[in-house]
């Protein structure tokens, strides 16, 4: 394969040819589907309902056709030995010596477990040092945590990490007093304060881990390609414990490489940005990628929730390219522990992706960005469209007394004749071929996945579970879209939990809706069109079983049950890379507020990071809060009151002094017990 000298050498005709190949494949398959559908529907002439059905069929079928197209081209690229135009191929071989461009590695955190976050950070810091990154990289933990306990625990974890690694002045911790505009506001605040100090910004998530070698290579690839604005890696999902996590991490290994290679094939330098595990050129990012406001009636409506796709678009409008370093190892992240947490994330993404609608028709948006935005929209809009399609198909079936058929992902009305059989076969092929191609791609490395038999069984297990999940996701995505479009907030009943198991009561509260919908749909089908029951069974099973499926999704026992016989394995479980060692949490930490009051070390760390005390006019108020805190316990203060107290250095120092000099009987039992434990230790 010829070398890739740099992105400046890209031939625009070659890029256009790839766009054409990609679109022709996806559109060609979609047209085949439309022709077949028309052949089915026109048997008795078109009714108005059938015209609507056909209109819905086009985007629904197009979605799976283009999904397959990406996987198909990805498979071809990987089978032919890789893509010449992969950004990391522009690095010289052997690798260049000398320092890479100054890079800030930023880790925005929001109430995450500090133990896990800082273990990952320590591994990355040591790995960068070992890789020879040295003085080119500074690390920033950018906290927006509004839980006062987490704030204190983060500070203590940062300080101890710096002490262990002698990294004061290399690893920084900053917490925003007003966490305006979430993660994008957090990054913007960093850029405003320190952006001038660095050439590049490597953005991580709290659960991200990247090897030093990968970080160094990313900085060097930016050095080598001044036209590259963002280089996104493909983070591998790791450390799966619950059943859902293990299924997701396996699925990303099964089909992830195909979709990644296929994506790079068609968009080349017009890629997307996922918000983390990516390196960004700071100058254009600061100068050209400040998030705009979108049209809306309130300030909340005007703020962009999902910033990454928009930033990629703005970067390209500014004349820089966005590349996907999909072959780069050493980039990792974790996945939500259970279905409820995963749906919470989907809810945010759904709201964010729907906002991107405004950029779909904006005059300055580039062609590839429009496609990314369209796919992002369709990822969620497909759900209500599919529900509508199912409803209309049922109506039409009842009306015409025809036989219909449904599959888990898309329902296809089947009339008599060859067309229905071909359309059903085509739909199933588009849905399942990417998994089969993924299996073929993994066969040479089957040993890393427990051998050929286990790899095959794992793929079957993953497929069965994804079929069960499909209808649950359909229900929730439809709900998210409708509520978002109506401008209503989506309420969620589940709580943030440290462990992944979903209790039965919480599962019932969250999943009674899909269960009832499944039972109702089953009854309607049974009395209305009994012949449909067999075809609807995978769809109905997911809905009716949504409560046990959700509980099972978060079960670590179920995850282990499959892991023990070697199912759903990933290579990192056979041979753990050094960067992923020691990430498991240690002993549960003493709550942050107790540490702050009792430990002179933690108290001093916190006070040394505060700038100054409030004025005298607030001293009385804070003294009252302090007194209440000690006499009535930590729960007696609201989060806001506690935050106000903790921002005042003098108040925090006094809290520490007060608790140590107080008689036990003057303290709330929580403090008394904590003090006794401290004295006993």
């Amino acid at each position: 394969m010829k070398p890739f000298p740099g992105i400046a050498s890209l031939n625009p005709d070659g890029v256009a040819l790839r766009h054409a190949l990609f679109l022709a494949t996806g559109a060609g398959i979609t047209i085949c589907g439309i022709v077949l559908m028309v052949a089915i529907l026109r048997v008795d002439g078109f009714t108005p309902v059938e015209w609507v059905q056909l209109a819905l069929f086009v985007p629904l079928f197009g979605q799976i056709a283009f999904g397959f197209t990406i996987a198909f081209w990805g498979f071809l690229i990987l089978a032919s030995g890789g893509d010449r135009y992969e950004i990391m191929r522009t690095l010289p071989n052997p690798p260049a010596d000398g320092p890479a461009g100054g890079t800030a590695i930023v880790l925005p955190v929001f109430n995450e477990d500090p133990d896990r976050t800082f273990r990952g950070l320590e591994n990355m810091f040591r790995s960068v040092e070992a890789a020879g990154g040295g003085g080119s990289f500074d690390f920033f933990v950018l906290s927006d945590s509004n839980d006062p306990g987490r704030w204190i625990e983060e500070e203590a974890a940062w300080f101890r990490l710096c002490s262990r690694c002698r990294a004061f002045g290399r690893i920084f911790y900053r917490r925003r007093r007003v966490p305006l505009h979430g993660k994008s506001g957090n990054i913007a605040d960093f850029c405003r304060r320190w952006g001038k100090n660095f050439q590049y910004l490597l953005i991580l998530d709290a659960d991200s881990v990247m090897s030093g070698e990968t970080i160094l290579r990313l900085a060097r690839v930016m050095d080598a390609n001044p036209g590259a604005g963002i280089v996104q890696t493909a983070p591998q999902i790791i450390r799966g414990k619950s059943l859902l996590q293990r299924l997701v991490q396996f699925a990303t290994r099964l089909v992830g490489p195909l979709f990644a290679a296929g994506s790079n094939f068609w968009h080349l330098g017009g890629g997307n940005y996922w918000g983390h595990n990516a390196i960004i050129r700071l100058k254009p990012f600061i100068g050209q990628c400040v998030l705009p406001v979108i049209p809306g009636r309130s300030a909340d409506d005007r703020h962009i929730l999902s910033h990454d796709t928009v930033e990629a678009s703005l970067m390209q409008e500014a004349g820089y390219q966005v590349w996907f370093a999909y072959l780069e190892d050493g980039s990792y992240e974790e996945s939500p522990p259970d279905l409820s947490e995963s749906l919470k994330r989907d809810r945010r993404w759904c709201q964010g992706n729907l906002q991107h609608f405004w950029f779909l028709f904006a005059p300055g948006t580039r062609f590839t960005n429009r496609i990314h935005i369209f796919f992002g929209l369709m990822a969620y809009l497909t759900a209500p469209l599919l529900v509508l399609f199912i409803a209309l198909s049922s109506w039409d079936n009842r009306w015409k007394q025809q036989f219909e058929i449904f599959s888990a992902q898309v329902d296809v009305p089947v009339g008599p004749g060859w067309a229905s059989t071909v359309l059903l076969g085509l739909t199933l092929a588009l849905l399942f071929l990417p998994k089969i191609l993924g299996l073929i791609h993994l066969l040479p490395r089957a040993g890393d996945y427990g051998g050929i038999l286990r790899l095959f069984l794992s793929a079957i297990a993953e497929t069965i579970f994804s079929i069960l999940l499909a209808s649950i996701l359909l229900y929730f995505y439809t709900r998210f879209v409708i509520l978002t479009v109506l401008g209503l907030r989506v309420t969620w009943k589940s709580q943030i939990r440290d462990k992944s198991d979903i209790p039965f009561g919480e599962a019932v509260k969250t999943y009674w809706g899909p269960t009832c919908a499944g039972v109702l749909a089953g009854l309607v089908a049974f009395f209305w069109a009994p012949a449909l029951i067999l075809w609807l069974s995978p769809f109905l099973a997911g809905l009716i079983l949504s409560i046990p499926v959700a509980m099972l999704s978060g079960s670590e026992k179920a995850g282990l049950l499959l892991k023990d016989p070697g199912l759903l394995l990933i290579p990192e479980e056979s041979s753990l890379p050094p960067i992923l060692r020691n990430l498991d949490p240690g002993e549960p930490a003493v709550p942050g507020i107790l540490q702050l009051a009792l430990s002179p070390e933690v108290n001093a760390i916190h006070c040394s990071l505060l700038r100054k005390s409030h004025g005298h006019h607030e001293a009385g108020l804070l003294a009252g809060l302090r007194k209440r805190l000690l006499q009535e316990g930590p729960q007696s203060l609201s989060r806001r009151e506690l935050n106000a107290l903790l921002w005042d250095r003098q108040a925090v120092e006094s809290l520490h002094r007060d608790i140590w000099i107080s008689e036990e009987n003057s303290l709330h039992p929580r403090w008394r017990n904590a003090l006794r434990d401290f004295v006993r230790r």
Binding site: R192, E601, S608, W660, F678
Partner: protein
Amino acid sequence: MEELAWDPDWNLACARIEAYLRAHAVEPRERVLALTLGILQEAKTLHAQNPSSTRLGCAMNLAVRKSDDWFSSLAGDPAKASRARAAFFSSGRNDLFLEPSLPADFVSAIRNAGIEAGPALKFQSLLRKEPDYGAMEDIARETWDQFSWGHTLRAFALWVVVFLAAWGAYLRFFQ
């Protein structure tokens, strides 16, 4: 010493002082005990002068004050005592806690410890551009400006009539 051993209040104070010193990671144990007993003796003298105070309060006030004074002196500036205390914990020289005379390199290391939330600030403003969202924005704004439920219901009713008429025509002429 006998009086201390048998007085439960002083016993409690002794345990609290010891815990406070251990919270400063003071090693070895012999030094912790020596410091504890020193503070306790001094507290006893103070308590004799002011019997209305509690023994625990008297002893711990003394211990905390000694610690605060020592860190203020170590920092060279009382306003930086917290920073010196934090730096002391990362210095690995906890054996020097409450020592009246300290090595110059230790003092220098504590005073120059780089406990910072970030490097030197270099502020710059982020300028937001006014994007052009095209015709969709105009349509949306006009809708928001002119939207009312009355209009919407009337429009909906009109479309229902149109749909029913079309449906009726279809049934009448094409079925």
